[in-house]
């Protein structure tokens, strides 16, 4: 199961619970009864504590797993320079200053499976996105490509196969055709 589907399931469970609560409250209006403000506030405090604990635990659990800290103390096995411009990518294992060679269909880059790779992504014109899709077409990693800056993305691409790369930041009229690919063996 992909992370996205897991997020969708969490979302559906919480939304379902909310819908149930709202329906219960809606149907309760058929029978009127006074409720003291003390009771309301007791439940309010309970709700506040519950929400605070859930969000606090989620924060503590997720922040250390953010992509900026992942593999931060490891040495990448491969460094791939990525330069973007309207409407193509250029990937190479040399420096970003390499002569421009647009690679619209495939970059020719082959990476060893599960190797730690650092993509150094920069743009020569406007903002672009660098979204890596696995062989099953699931988005597995991404970073923005910004003029004047180099974003460093470290990932391990585990499944062997062809990984498509799409531009995920709107960059102009033919943004939707801006793509390339790489192979993981």
């Amino acid at each position: 199961m992909t992370q996205q589907v897991l997020v969708l399931i969490c979302f559906l469970i919480v939304s379902g619970a909310l819908l149930l609560i709202f329906q219960i409250v809606f149907h309760s209006t058929k029978k009127e009864r006074e409720i003291s403000p003390t009771t309301v506030n007791r439940y309010r405090v309970l709700f506040f504590a519950m929400l605070g604990v859930i969000l606090g635990v989620l924060l503590l659990f997720t922040l250390p797993r953010s992509p900026y800290l992942l593999f931060a103390h490891e040495q990448p096995e491969k460094i791939i320079a990525v330069v973007t411009r309207q409407f193509s990518f250029a990937l190479s294992d040399e420096s970003p200053e390499k002569k421009w060679t647009p690679t619209e269909s495939t970059s020719g880059i082959v990476l060893p499976a599960a190797a730690l790779v650092e993509f150094r992504v920069s743009s020569q014109d406007v903002n672009h996105g660098f979204g890596i899709y696995d062989p099953e077409n699931n988005l597995v990693a991404q970073v923005q490509s910004m003029p004047g800056y180099v974003n460093r993305l470290r990932v391990r691409l585990k499944k062997p196969g062809i990984y498509n790369i799409f531009c995920l930041e709107y960059c102009g009229l033919t943004h939707f055709i801006m793509r390339t690919s790489l192979e993981v063996r």
């Binding site: 992909t2 992370q3 996205q4 589907v5 997020v7 969708l8 979302f11 919480v14 939304s15 909310l18 819908l19 709202f22 809606f26 309760s28 209006t29 009127e32 006074e34 409720i35 439940y43 309010r44 709700f47 506040f48 969000l55 989620l58 924060l59 997720t62 922040l63 953010s66 992509p67 900026y68 014109d125 406007v126 903002n127 979204g131 899709y133 077409n137 699931n138 988005l139 990693a141 991404q142 970073v143 923005q144 910004m146 003029p147 004047g148 800056y149 180099v150 974003n151 460093r152 993305l153 498509n164 995920l168 930041e169 709107y170 960059c171 102009g172 009229l173 943004h175 939707f176 055709i177």
Partner: protein
């Protein structure tokens, strides 16, 4: 003026929905638009929707503010004139000049012209006109409040010190906090435009990261604040439909809205999660602020609406239905927003259709419901004729079914990694096309609900004017 704003908004909204339907139909392969047309429509749709609901929120707050303080008619009229002028220029820049950068006109794309040469300056000028009109209106409303209440009282700081008197309505507390937020983000918008003009005339070169921060501070904060305008109105009108006293300002209401006002200013960092060069501390602040911001809303507003409704013999009509189920849409959209604002999730959801999924949920099924509730309340009040039960059911069912069906297609698309802002989907992601086709049908149903609403509201307003 409130009727004029409402009419204008109710005419613009179905047109903007239609533009959205055209885009989804194109993504679904039902029609075939050239990319320049698709992206100019995308730009107009995004900015038009945000602008329409912002001004309707402002107009409803302006109307209700008269219950507590006299407002400036000049500020209101000036805002209307500048908004209409700005909208006309925007339509010319996008539909004729084919300016197509998306709502956020992310630097430096507007300067890489793939459209008419005059479209970029006209677009920037139209945003400046709109910003000026809204700034004048914001300041005039703030002045109206501050003439009646000192700032510390308007923000209910005395409640934070445990002093309950003098009483301040929650509407005033929320509106004051929101207007200050709007004022700050409009000033940021002015700075952004000044930097754009500076580069456009060749006086300077801008920094892409700074411009991105300014853009999202301006855009994200404004969209949040327009939702709070509608919530302020809810505090006034929803309790008119039950048999319990109106909402009162307490220490936790005061604390909640003061905290929200501050925290919401830092939540925009979540738009830059995938810009790894942004200082990591800011990105973590983005997640913390995005987690803290919904707590006051959930614990105070959403919980208060549920507590008020529970076992209360409510008068259920179009207004109360729209408010009650609008709060549900707001809450569910908030859950989706929090999931997306979690950095590890954003890593695989950013710029997929999950993003429009969440903001369409709390807008189409939350904030829009709140504003429609106000308009129907207003139309009934001025005409003395309530919406008929059959018409109300037709409107409500179409909006609810159409709206939820439409956003569910976005959620499914996001979960299957379908990117946003794609004119057409590549072979590998054709599922996005199928889901877009289904979404088109649901959007048409939502549009039908809006047309029915426009009919009902117009009929009542015409009756009021003819009396």
């Amino acid at each position: 003026m409130t009727a004029l704003w409402s009419y204008t908004g109710l005419i613009l909204f179905p047109i903007l929905i239609l533009l959205g339907i055209v885009m989804r139909a194109n993504q679904g392969g039902v029609i075939n638009l050239p990319p320049d047309r698709f992206y100019s429509i995308l730009t107009l749709h995004g900015l038009g929707m945000a602008g329409t609901w912002f001004v309707l929120g402002m107009a409803s707050c302006n109307y209700l503010l008269n219950r507590y303080a006299s407002t400036s008619l000049v500020g209101n009229i000036l805002a209307y004139i500048l908004t209409v002028t700005g909208v006309i220029s925007l339509v010319i820049a996008t539909l004729i000049g084919k300016f197509a950068t998306g709502w956020y006109f992310l630097y430096p794309l507007p300067l890489y012209k793939a459209w008419e040469n005059w479209a970029t300056p006209l677009f920037l000028v139209s945003v400046a006109i709109l910003g000026t009109g809204w700034l004048v209106w914001t300041v005039s409303m703030l002045i109206s409040i501050l003439r009646k209440y000192p700032l510390s009282r308007a923000l209910a700081w005395h409640h934070l010190r445990g002093i309950k008197e003098p009483a301040v309505p929650p509407f005033i507390v929320i509106l004051t906090a929101t207007l200050i937020g709007i004022f700050i983000c409009l000033l940021t918008g002015v700075t952004l435009l000044a930097l754009y003009f500076g580069e456009y005339f060749g006086w300077m070169k801008n920094d892409a990261l700074l411009m991105k921060n300014l853009t999202f501070f301006f855009g994200h904060t404004l969209v949040n604040e327009l939702l709070y305008l509608a919530v302020a109105v809810l505090y006034e009108i929803y309790p008119e439909h039950g048999h319990r006293p109106k909402f009162k300002t307490t220490w936790y209401v005061a604390l909640s809205w003061n905290v929200t006002f501050l925290v919401v200013l830092f939540a925009y960092f979540h738009h830059l999660y995938m810009d790894f060069v942004q200082p990591t501390g800011f990105l973590f602040i983005g997640q913390i602020a995005s987690y803290v911001a919904p707590i006051p809303a959930a614990v105070v507003t959403i919980f208060s609406v549920l507590a008020y409704t529970f076992r209360n013999s409510m008068k259920w009509n179009l207004v109360s239905f729209l408010y009650f189920y609008g709060v549900l849409g707001w809450a569910i959209g908030g859950v989706a927003a929090v999931l997306d604002a979690t950095i590890v999730n954003n890593f695989v959801l950013h710029n997929t259709l999950w993003v429009p999924a969440h903001f369409h949920t709390y807008n189409l099924l939350g904030q829009v419901f709140f504003n429609l509730a106000f308009i129907s309340w207003f139309a009934e009040k001025v005409s003395g004729a309530p919406f008929r039960s059959g018409l109300s059911k037709g409107i409500f069912a179409s909006l609810l079914l159409g709206g939820w069906g439409f956003v569910i297609m976005f959620y499914l698309s996001g979960s299957f990694s379908i990117p946003r802002r794609f004119n057409l989907y590549p072979q590998e992601l054709l599922l996005g096309s199928t889901l877009a086709k289904v979404a088109t049908v649901f959007a048409l149903l939502y549009l039908l609900g809006m047309i029915l609403f426009l009919y009902g509201a117009s009929k009542r307003c015409v009756r009021a004017f003819s009396r």
